[in-house]
Amino acid sequence: MKPRALRNLAVVMLLAAAPLALGQSGGVLHFCLHGEPKTFNPILVDDEASENIRYLTGGVLIRLNRQTQALEPGLAESWHVSKDGRTITFRLRKGLHFSDGTAFTSEDVGYTMKTLMDPQVHSPTGDAFRSGEGAIDVQTPTPDVVTITFPASVAGLERLFDQVAILSVHSPQKEMAVLGPFYVSEYKAGLYVELKRNPNYWRRDAQGHPLPYLDGIRLDIQRNRDIELLRFRRGELQLINRLDAESYQHLQKDDPNVARNAGAGLDSDHIWFNEVPSAPLAEYKKAWFRTTEFRKAVSLAINRDDICRIVFAGYAKPAYGPVSPANRFWFNAALPAPKYDPQGALRLLIQAGFRFANDELRDKAGNRVEFTLVTNSGNTVREKMAAMIQQDLSQIGIKVSVVTLDFPSLIERMTRTFDYEACLLGLVNTDLDPSGVMTVWLSSGENHQWNPNQKNPATPWEAEMDKLMREQASAIADKDRKKKFDRVQQIIYEQQPFIYLVNRDVLTAVSPAVVGVAPTVLNPQAFWNADVLQLGPAPQLGAQK
């Protein structure tokens, strides 16, 4: 421990001694991953830790600018999508090299795409491209031109390339040879991943200086968020992503410049009722859950403002649709804002044949309306939300019991046994495009959680959603797609299969030592522009205490 502390001290002193105006090149940025990266192979990435490493190390043909939400050229100078939406042609930058010195050519792109689309590989990134049966065709007429043809048109095709880190076909280092700003130099399982500056990174700043400025990044693997916060306050870490509201408040008390709020994020928390016909539940309960008025009444009776204010200390916005306003293009602004109206909820329930007497709600047959709400354990925020929903619904005579289960048990109930009544969970949205969530909205989808894997749509509105989702996926113009998806959002709003609760604000913490940070709502929030970040001589946070 000691030598490192001394070394850190030495670094701080050197930095303090150097006369600099803003930031300067060099230094190692230090922050945490919140889980073990499961793979360094960019093709197989499906967890957040690996995804962060892929973002920092992988070179992509097209990059989605996390701030403007617009596409920018990466390894490809330019690209062109054919009119039928099936073929994309890239013109690659010339003279680029992988981190180990191997030259980059169109052959590498072809190899990457073929590996990615190999049905045996089951790559989540590759699956996003799969729109029809059949193999892809890759042509590499010259070392800097590549043409990829898909069996059917792929909606939002260009945007998907933001996730495709190019592999080298010839490098002896295989997937460890990268084209991004950093490369993985060391990994100690359970402890840390060390990234070093890639000397062959292609980007330069406006003055023509090579990027990235940083010498490297050290990512400690730290699941415990309290420890992370503590270390940040001591000045050992310079960034925190996905800060919870409480920690944000503590930090803001220390120093308002350190805690950053990028506004409402893309992730949502929602509840849904189990509408699976084969679920082992009482028939009368299934009947309530299938009643639109019942779901709408529950939605009306939940006080979202209170949840935002109490559970999230005000750092969340009430949500009422599947798309967060943070998703600028796809959000349907025409949807009315949610209201809190327990009286209206009761009116709806009575219309649907329920009876309310002695503070108890009963259905036509006289059954007391009660259900269990399951959520994953160890998530205090969800536990609090569940407790608040419990009290809100008791006002319209519904008795809610809350049960927390560990994640594997919960997933088993959600996807296999269907032995639950209602569930409170969240969806992490990494993708702006609705095509990324096809399996959620198609009635045949795995993630159509209220009633997954249907052979035929159970309701007319689900049939309409299926039709609209398929149409938007095959439409080419984004304007047409948006019109279809707006209607989907409206159906979800009217039917409330998912009762959306909140969109959490994207909260991050950034040490004053880091220059150039601009946290965004899109992943990877605080370090999306890692290649232009600089370390300045700012004092350690902990020093003033």
Binding site: V311, L405, S409
Partner: protein, 271 residues
């Protein structure tokens, strides 16, 4: 030793007071344990909320009273059960020796090493999702009692082996007492200090284990409070250091454990 007696009377008085307050929670508690005063989340102690409110605005004093009722009744019961099992098995192993001893010890070693967590997860799956809170609470503590014996067993066993050759046992044996009679009449009464020590140790352990169980969907579920889930609030360190009154449940737990230790006759008194 009058100072000690004074202390003991003090402790008895305190325990009785806590017990009475807990039993009379319905009458004493100013509010329901579940009601959320949403305008007053995380408030400091005031005249209306003696111990302040929790993050959802629920009155901490009322929650503490109800939580005491749940934990103070059931944790000692579970500890008693576990100590009894450990006592009987440990005494049997120490007294009988041979294969009995070896197999009991082997089972103990195994159950200490096995990940019993999965047994609990499986149990949760076997119970219906919506169990009455009383049933779930009683089942939880029963399980703790039934599973919590192995750590005490070896201690009891070692102590039994120590007295295996004592005169009173030889005497009892020669007068024809069977093993069961020997265990209950001779060995266990003689091991009282060891058993008591194990009993005290397991009470707080069970109270805290219950909190862990609620993470598996067992144990005391929201919004019913228990010392376990009240203590879980202590894990949020920055919040506790900012609101020191939040350690009230911990103070009460420590107080109760110490009172118990003071009241019941332990070995020191007779030295």
């Amino acid at each position: 030793m009058s100072a000690k007696r004074g202390l003991r009377i003090c402790a008895t008085f305190m325990l009785c007071a806590v017990g009475l307050l807990a039993l009379g929670a319905n009458i004493v508690a100013p509010y329901s344990y579940a009601h959320q005063f949403r305008d007053l989340p995380s408030s400091a102690p005031t005249a209306t909320h003696l111990l302040g409110t929790d993050t959802l605005g629920r009155d901490m004093f009322s929650r503490l009273l109800y939580g005491t009722r749940v934990s103070l009744l059931l944790a000692p019961a579970a500890a008693l059960l576990a100590t009894l099992i450990a006592g009987v098995l440990g005494a049997a192993a120490g007294l009988l020796g041979g294969w009995w001893e070896r197999s009991i010890l082997a089972i103990t070693d195994l159950s200490m090493a096995l990940p019993l967590l999965f047994l609990l997860i499986a149990l949760r799956a076997m119970l219906p999702l919506n169990v009455e809170s009383v049933v779930s609470v009683v089942a939880t503590f029963l399980m703790l009692g039934l599973l919590g014996w192995p750590s005490a067993l070896r201690v009891v066993w070692a102590a039994t082996r120590n007295i295996r050759q004592s005169d009173f046992l030889l005497l009892a044996r020669s007068s024809g007492s069977g093993p069961l009679r020997l265990i209950f009449r001779q060995v266990l009464p003689n091991l009282r200090p060891v058993l008591l020590a194990q009993f005290w140790i397991s009470i707080p352990v069970f109270i805290l284990t219950e909190a862990t169980l609620s993470m598996l969907g067992l144990g005391v579920m929201e919004p019913l409070p228990s010392w376990g889930n009240l203590l879980r609030g202590l894990e949020d360190f920055p919040a506790v250091s900012a609101n020191p009154w939040r350690i009230a449940p911990l103070v009460l737990l420590i107080l109760v454990v110490i009172c118990f230790q003071l009241i019941l006759p332990s070995q020191e008194d007779s030295v």
